[in-house]
Structure formats: C-alpha cells, structure tokens
C-alpha cells in the first residue's frame, strides 16, 4: 500500500483507516486526476461497459419474467471468448467496438480542442485592458470558491448523513429480493473455503475459558433428555467388553478404605429413623421361621444330653469292670471277668 503518508490510489479502492465496525467514510480524497484525454477515454469506456452490462441484466430479467432460463446451464455470456459471435450479437459487438474507437478519437479531439481553446484564450486575454476585468472576475470567483470550500464539509456531512440513512434501506430492499441461502448454495463452494481455512489457527485463537464462562451449564442440562441419552448407550456391549477382573485387580482397596471416614458416615445416618421404619416384629417372626429355633434347641439339648449320657455310660461300665475284677479275684476266676467275655454263644449282638 506504500508509506503511511501516501494517499490511497483509485485502484486500491476505498480504504478505511478505522477498524471494522466503525463508520466508513463515504469519500476519500484521491491523487490528482490523470490527464484530460485519459479521463475522457476512461469515462467513455465505463459508460459503454455499464450500458452492455445493463442490457444483459435487463435481457436476463425479461427472460425470467416469461419463465425461461436466459442461458443454458453452465453457460454465461462473455464467458466463452473463443466462441465466435453471430447475428445480433455480432452486430452489437461491432457497434460497441465502433463506439470504443469513437470514444478514443473523440477524447483526442476534445483534448486538442481544449488545448487550442486555451491557446486562443491566452492570446485574447493578454492585452492590459482585458487583464484588469479578468483579474477582478478571478478575485470574485476565488471569493465564491473560498465560500464554497468553507461550506464544503457541512455539505458533505449532510450528504453523508443522508446516504447513511438511504444505503441501509436500499441494501435491505435488495436483500429482500435475494434468496441468500440459494445464492450461497449456488455460488459458494464451502468445501474449498474450509480447505483454505486454518482451523488450527482459528481454534488456537479461541479463548475457550471465556466461552465456557459464558455457557449456562444448568440451562443446557435442563434441556438434555438424559433418559434418551442413556437409552442409546449400549450398556451390555460396553460391559461385555470390560475386563472387570483387571479393573478390580488395579484397585487398591486398602487405600480406598483408608480414605473413607466411617465415623462421619455413621454420624450422618439417622439410625432412629431407620429403626422406626423397620417392621421389627415381622422381621423377627420371619427370622425365627427361617432359623427353626426348635430344631436348633433340640439339637443342642440332644448333643448335651448325649455327652452327659455317654459319660454316665462309660463311668458305669468302668465301675462294672472294677466290680467284676474284684469279685473275680475273690472267687478265684479268670482275669477277664464275666462281664467282658462271656461264652461266644451268649455274647450280645455286635
């Protein structure tokens, strides 16, 4: 763009020194105008070009009003310079070419006339009696010019205000006639735009913390249908993939338990309320029914009785043997005694 002191040229278009979002100045001073001949030729070119474009737009609009596509698909006038024109288009093109040549010649002629007129004017105004009125006239013109220059900012400001009001309305009216969605779908290749975009750079510029701070998490959560989300999750599939044994093996149960404040948990539990909710009588009856207390008592008593009775039997049997030995010794019998070894045919059942 050049050094900061340079004014922007016509080719650079309107340059806004202000950042986006501020008021855009409607007019920026340009460099001194080019030579007169060039100006006139360019003016003719622009006029001819605008006429051609206007005629094409007009023809297209008329074709649409009768329900026809003005051009075949993928075809546009002027997009195929290699294709020779014919008929009306040939005549029109020739006319435009003639007009352009005429414009060039006309501009040269006008320039020549202007210079000749300037030479003639300088000759006419050279005598002294002509100089004085001219000087007075020039003084008056300069006074008028100075007054205009003085009022120029105010006039420009008024015009700018008017345009600021007018342009948005014109733009709105224009946009109302355009289906932007269709326009974007037809003309914009989103994929190419996305390919060109440096998404990493965009993401790097994002202040995610600020975005998260703006989010109203509660409202988002209220809108989420958690049941529907959970229903979509294939829990069985997930569980079947899990290696529960490996997970459990990785858990340090001792550390987990050491962190649990059992006393705090116990303090929080309202045992009175819990006990009040229990139907202790029913539970007790069910427990007693399950336990079969009678059987347990019978077994316990039976075992005690068996032990006691077994002790009595052993003691009495030992006493029997002792008595039998004493009697046997007194009566001079064999040592075995009668109680322990009777005749085989009289032994009790085994």
């Amino acid at each position: 763009m050049g050094t900061p002191n340079e004014r922007p040229t016509v080719d650079e278009g309107i340059v806004s020194p202000e950042p986006l979002g501020k008021v855009v100045p409607l007019r920026v001073a340009a460099q001194p105008p080019p030579p007169l001949e060039q100006l006139i030729e360019q003016t003719f070119r622009i006029a001819i070009g605008m006429t051609v474009l206007a005629s094409e737009v007009l023809a297209e609009a008329i074709a649409r009003t009768v329900g026809r596509e003005p051009f075949a698909e993928g075809e546009a006038p002027g997009d195929e310079p290699g294709r020779p024109a014919s008929g009306v288009a040939l005549v029109a093109g020739a006319a435009i070419g003639v007009a352009l040549e005429g414009a060039r010649w006309g501009s040269r002629a006008a320039t020549t006339m202007y210079r000749s007129a300037g030479l003639f004017f300088s000759l006419v105004t050279s005598p002294a009696f002509v100089q004085e009125p001219l000087r007075q006239t020039e003084g008056r013109l300069e006074a008028l010019d100075a007054r205009w220059r003085e009022q120029r900012p105010r006039d420009e400001e008024a015009a700018a205000s008017f345009l600021r009001l007018l342009i948005p309305q014109v733009v709105d009216a224009t946009l109302d006639q355009i289906d932007l969605n269709e326009l974007v779908a037809e003309r914009v290749e989103v994929d190419k735009i996305v390919e060109r975009m440096d998404l990493d750079g965009v993401i790097a510029r994002l202040d995610l913390d600020a975005i998260v701070e703006r989010l109203d998490i509660d409202r988002i959560l209220e809108r989420i249908d958690l049941r529907a989300v959970v229903d979509r999750v294939p829990v069985d599939d997930i569980v079947s993939r899990l290696d529960i044994d490996a997970i459990v093996a990785g858990v340090d149960i001792d550390r987990v338990v050491s962190r649990v404040d059992v006393q705090a948990i116990a303090d929080r539990i309202d045992l009175q309320a819990l006990v009040a909710r229990l139907d202790l009588a029913t539970i007790a009856n069910e427990v007693i029914a399950e336990i079969e207390l009678t059987q347990i008592i019978q077994e316990a008593m039976g075992s005690m009785t068996n032990e006691t009775v077994g002790g009595i039997r052993v003691q009495s049997m030992n006493a029997d043997r002792a008595i039998a030995r004493i009697v046997g010794r007194v009566l001079g019998r064999a040592e075995e005694g009668t109680t322990e070894a009777g005749p085989p045919d009289q032994r009790g059942p085994r």
């Binding site: 029997d320 009289q346 009790g348």
Partner: protein, 148 residues
C-alpha cells in the same frame, strides 16, 4: 463293648432310674386323681389320703406295666435307655410280651434278685436265670437283626 453282658452298677443305676420314674408316675396319678376330684366337687375338695398299701399296690402295678411295655417293645425302659442297656432273650432277640410280663412281675416281687448278677459268672440276675434272659450293653437305637 456293645453286646457284652452288663455289670451290676449299670443295671442298678438303670433300675434306680426306673424306680424314680415309677415314683414320679405314682405322684402324677395322685395329682391327677386330686384334680379330677377338685373338678367334680370343688367345694368339698380335700387332698386324698391314700393308705401305704394303696400307694404300694399302685406303684407295684405301674412298675409291672412300665417294665412290660418297655421290654416287650424295645427291650429297654427309660433307665436302661439312659445307661445304654437292653434286655434280650437267650438268642439276643426281643422279649415277647408274656416273657416281659413275667420278668417284670419277678423283678417287682423280688428286686433283690438283681444282685445275683454280681456273683454270677455270666452276670445274670435271678430273674435272668428263671426267664432265660440277660442284659447287655447296647445303646444303638434299634435291636440288631437276628443272625442266621
């Protein structure tokens, strides 16, 4: 030890327990009769005062019945069951009812005959000698099947 002849101490303890049982039965009969009398004539109720002969007769009858039922059914009374004894025939079988009854009568009439088992070489009492029975150690719940 099962099947061997029982000695005097075991048999005496068993008979003593049976005696206590019969005493308890006599007391029970006494209170039962009293209760019936109270229910029939509550106003004129007074505790019955039976004579010693009546009580002795009652006890003797109860003892014979108790021993007969016990020996003819399982070969054991409560006292013998507690001491793990059983009264069996000479063939180690269960006593028939008449044999049980006669042995019970003999035991009730002449209880001291038990002490003959002290000097008996086969540990038999007078009643065992007369009735061809003997008492063995046998605390199995049922009589073993007869051999042969």
């Amino acid at each position: 030890m099962q099947g061997q002849r029982a000695g005097i101490i075991s048999r005496f303890l068993a008979d003593a327990i049976d005696f206590v049982v019969v005493i308890a039965a006599v007391v029970g009969v006494y209170f039962g009769v009293s209760a019936v009398r109270f229910l029939l004539r509550p106003r004129t109720f007074s505790w019955p005062e039976p004579s010693a002969l009546n009580l002795g007769t009652l006890g003797w009858i109860l003892l014979i019945a108790y021993l007969t039922i016990g020996w003819s059914n399982t070969g054991r009374t409560f006292g013998k069951r507690l001491l793990g004894l059983r009264v069996v025939t000479s063939r180690d079988g269960r006593l028939p009812l008449w044999q049980s009854f006669l042995r019970a009568c003999l035991c009730a009439l002449f209880p001291i005959g038990l002490f003959w088992s002290v000097v008996s070489s086969r540990s038999e009492s007078i009643q065992d000698l007369i009735m061809q029975t003997h008492v063995v150690y046998d605390w199995r719940p049922k009589l073993p099947p007869l051999e042969g």
